[in-house]
Amino acid sequence: MPTVSVKRDLLFQALGRSYTHEEFDELCFEFGLELDEITSEKEIISKEQGSVKAAGASDVVLYKIDVPANRYDLLCLEGLVRGLQVFKERIKAPVYKRVMPDGKIQKLIITEETAKIRPFAVAAVLRNIKFTKDRYDSFIELQEKLHQNICRKRALVAIGTHDLDTLSGPFTYTAKRPSDIKFKPLNKTKEYTACELMNIYKTDNHLKQYLHIIENKPLYPVIYDSNGVVLSMPPIINGDHSRITVNTRNVFIECTGTDFTKAKIVLDIIVTMFSEYCEKQFTVEAAEVVFPNGKSYTFPELAYRKEIVRADLINKKVGIRETPENLAKLLTRMYLKSEVIGDGNQIEIEIPPTRADIIHACDIVEDAAIAYGYNNIQMTLPKTYTIANQFPLNKLTELLRHDMAAAGFTEVLTFALCSQEDIADKLGVDISATKAVHISNPKTAEFQVARTTLLPGLLKTIAANRKMPLPLKLFEISDIVIKDSNTDVGAKNYRHLCAVYYNKNPGFEIIHGLLDRIMQLLDVPPGEDKAGYVIRASEDGVPVVHVF
């Protein structure tokens, strides 16, 4: 779950009132958020680096709030406040509008070189915006959160925000050879080529994780303005020339990426959240994006979608009995402006651009239930009449386990993943003969393969319990995994029983006795008749049981 860190006092100021911890926790719980931690910058640094380093840090109380992973509109203070205020019916949800500029529209032209590396781009302008230090920090933080979240660490979408007054359009989004790209990036004092930057950032803790997205490609994406100034080299870094400061009044936003839908959603989120601070509140200036095939689009989309849901459907799915008017009111509290239409039974819901998570009527049903209050719903039991059965394999396993314990053996529960040696070399077998399932990129040797025998787990348990009084009599009845091309996935589980006797003497007679007891329990008689069993020596001297 993504976590948003907000200053408590700013939060309460925006909400228009103060809350006690309990009250705010309660509000979060109702809404589907979680107040994860109450801390301060000083405490955070103290925990990570010790109290000496934390000495000068801020004491301001921070709330860390967990938000659902699909609610991109709650990833910043502005969005949280707006959502909570609408939920508590203190404000009406603002209507976001795209407006055409007074002068020329800003244009972003995409060339065909980007097609192989990062084909999509969208853009918009926030006109006459007023930043304060807190708003500026929030703006940067939101981009970071979106990058981590819906943008899948910048691989799908990367956001660039620029001071429009330092640039002049039209802008060109193209891709060039790394050696041909040269500019002064953010936080640096001189110009570098892209090759040099990739090297420099290899040791940058923040940026090194994004290098792989373009590193080995022949061409790197880059955005220029009409004077050849580099806005950014997505998804790595923006140019210093167009950096945003607290004094920036006009912001040019560009999002580039490999997923068109997500780029549009990301742009919509940023502009809806921060257009609050524009002179004409909640308006966003349009920008035009021209694709290599000549087709031109106007962004941001800021689409409002309408969906019609029957009131009785919502009531039925949740298990409540609200009038259509009440349901419409509940949904409006969740930022889904609704009204009763038609025969009085239908509700028309307007889905704003901030709610890209609403893709089906069931999403609307959930929001109605949240506004109603989950804990206000009456709990009932389904009248479904069914006859129960246990899965036969598990039933048999349960029966056997108890009788194995009755025979004096102790059960263990060991890991299904182990190293290759555990199931091969250590047992004197070649790994290719085991038909084992291999895991790609295991972090350690302990996760190389899935076990093909229970024996290594039992032996490791004995090794870890060497100091226990002897004898140790252990067993496990559990699954092993073998490759099998007759199954749809190519591998199958087999239920195995394994028992080990560990003492100063080998105790073959003990295991023999246990085996005879197990066969007795399973109703397998000794002898070569049909469905019987015998024990014979095999070629390498190991006794083997043959079941007929």
């Binding site: 911890h21 926790d25 719980f29 589907g32 109450i38 659902p68 699909n70 609610r71 899948r152 799908l156 839908t261 039925k316 799915k317 949740v318 298990g319 893709i359 089906h360 009527a361 069931c362 999403d363 049903v365 959930e366 239930a369 989950y374 719903i377 709990m379 009932t380 389904p382 479904t384 069914t386 129960a388 899965f391 394999l393 102790t410 059960e411 263990v412 529960l413 060991t414 890991f415 299904a416 993943l417 399932v437 291999h438 790609s440 990129n441 302990e446 996760f447 899935a450 787990g457 348990t461 226990m468 699954d479 490759k483 199954t487 749809d488 996935v489 190519g490 591998a491 199958k492 589980n493």
Partner: protein, 324 residues
């Protein structure tokens, strides 16, 4: 439900559950993918086409995710990350049987996650899952079932298994200590019901609910260890530091109503709802017995003496009173 398959294809583990292919859980960091066998050999192609369409274009009343769905991605084999993949297989089979008959299923089996390991997290653990498929099921039904289920799991699990060291203060303690400690939860403050439900998010359920159980937190601390003022013994806290001053609701499970985008491509009738819930096996066990390191409970490093000495697990028995 038959769950005797640790190896699963991405299709059944993710795509059939309407979890998109770019979802972070499908990363190498969270999921164990396989080198051999790397890809599933067979997939039910008609169903696969319907799933592909629902993801990329929508349908069944949905907008869909609007991305390019790739068959190669769905073919990738992995160690299952949840037993919900087995539930999907069972529901698919149920959908092929006409006419539809209601069913209730459960499973308890092993799952695998490629996460960072620490005192409370292993690469493999067990999940408990329950599923009910019927006409006209509501959120109220799901809550009702959950209440009965968690009540049966017993007061000790629901209450968070507090242990008293005799000083009258509540402390957490490791299961194996020289001083035997007893669980004796104090009475709940008046007016607080034992279970609460919180809105949550899963890719494959909507509505989704997390289930919380209440227990009072006497030690208001964010530390990992706390010292009992009377006996001066240090006890490790459970892995959820409590914001100072809050009474603590502890998450005991997750649940929801499966999305139509998951059920309808399977062929289940439109008015059939499927509700499901799940929890891990290890966490409530660790709470009940006051175990702080999961390796003391599962795996080959378990202390056999603990296994020899443990009493019967009786979920419905009343805990013994503290020593006077």
């Amino acid at each position: 439900m038959p769950t005797d398959n640790f190896i699963e294809s991405s299709f059944w583990n993710f795509d059939a559950l309407f979890q998109p292919q770019q979802h972070p859980a499908r990363d190498q960091h969270d999921t164990f993918f396989l080198r051999d066998p790397a890809e599933a050999l067979q997939l039910p192609m008609g169903y696969v086409q319907r799933v592909k369409r629902t993801h990329s274009q929508g349908g069944y009343g949905s907008q869909g995710y609007k991305y390019t769905w790739k068959l190669d991605e769905a073919r990738k084999n992995l160690l299952r990350t949840h037993t919900t993949s087995a539930s999907a297989r069972v529901l698919y089979r149920l959908a092929q049987k006409k006419p539809f008959t209601p069913a209730k299923y459960f499973s308890i089996d092993r799952v695998f996650r490629n996460e960072t390991l620490d005192a409370t997290h292993l690469a493999e653990f067990h999940q408990i899952e329950g599923v009910v498929a019927d006409h006209g099921l509501t959120l109220g039904h799901l809550m009702g079932i959950l209440r009965e289920f968690f009540t049966k799991l017993g007061e000790q699990v629901g209450r968070g298994g507090q242990w008293w060291c005799g000083s009258g203060q509540a402390c957490w303690s490791p299961a194996l200590s020289s001083k035997p400690l007893l669980a004796c939860p104090p009475p709940l403050p008046a007016g607080i019901t034992q279970l609460r439900f919180k809105p949550a998010y899963n890719p494959y359920t909507e509505p989704s609910m997390e289930v919380f159980s209440y227990h009072p937190a006497h030690h208001q601390t964010q530390n990992l260890y706390q010292q009992c003022p009377e006996t001066h013994m240090h006890w490790p806290c459970l892995p959820y530091p409590t914001p100072a001053g809050l009474k603590k609701w502890v998450e005991v499970g997750n649940s929801g109503v499966f999305r139509p985008e998951m059920l309808l491509p399977m062929g289940l009738p439109e008015n059939v709802s499927v509700i499901a819930w799940g929890l891990s096996l290890e966490r409530p066990t660790m709470i009940k017995y006051g175990i702080n390191n999961i390796r003391e409970l599962v795996g080959h490093k378990v202390n056999l003496q603990m296994v020899y000495d443990s009493p019967l697990c009786r979920l419905d028995a009343k805990p013994r009173p503290p020593p006077t």
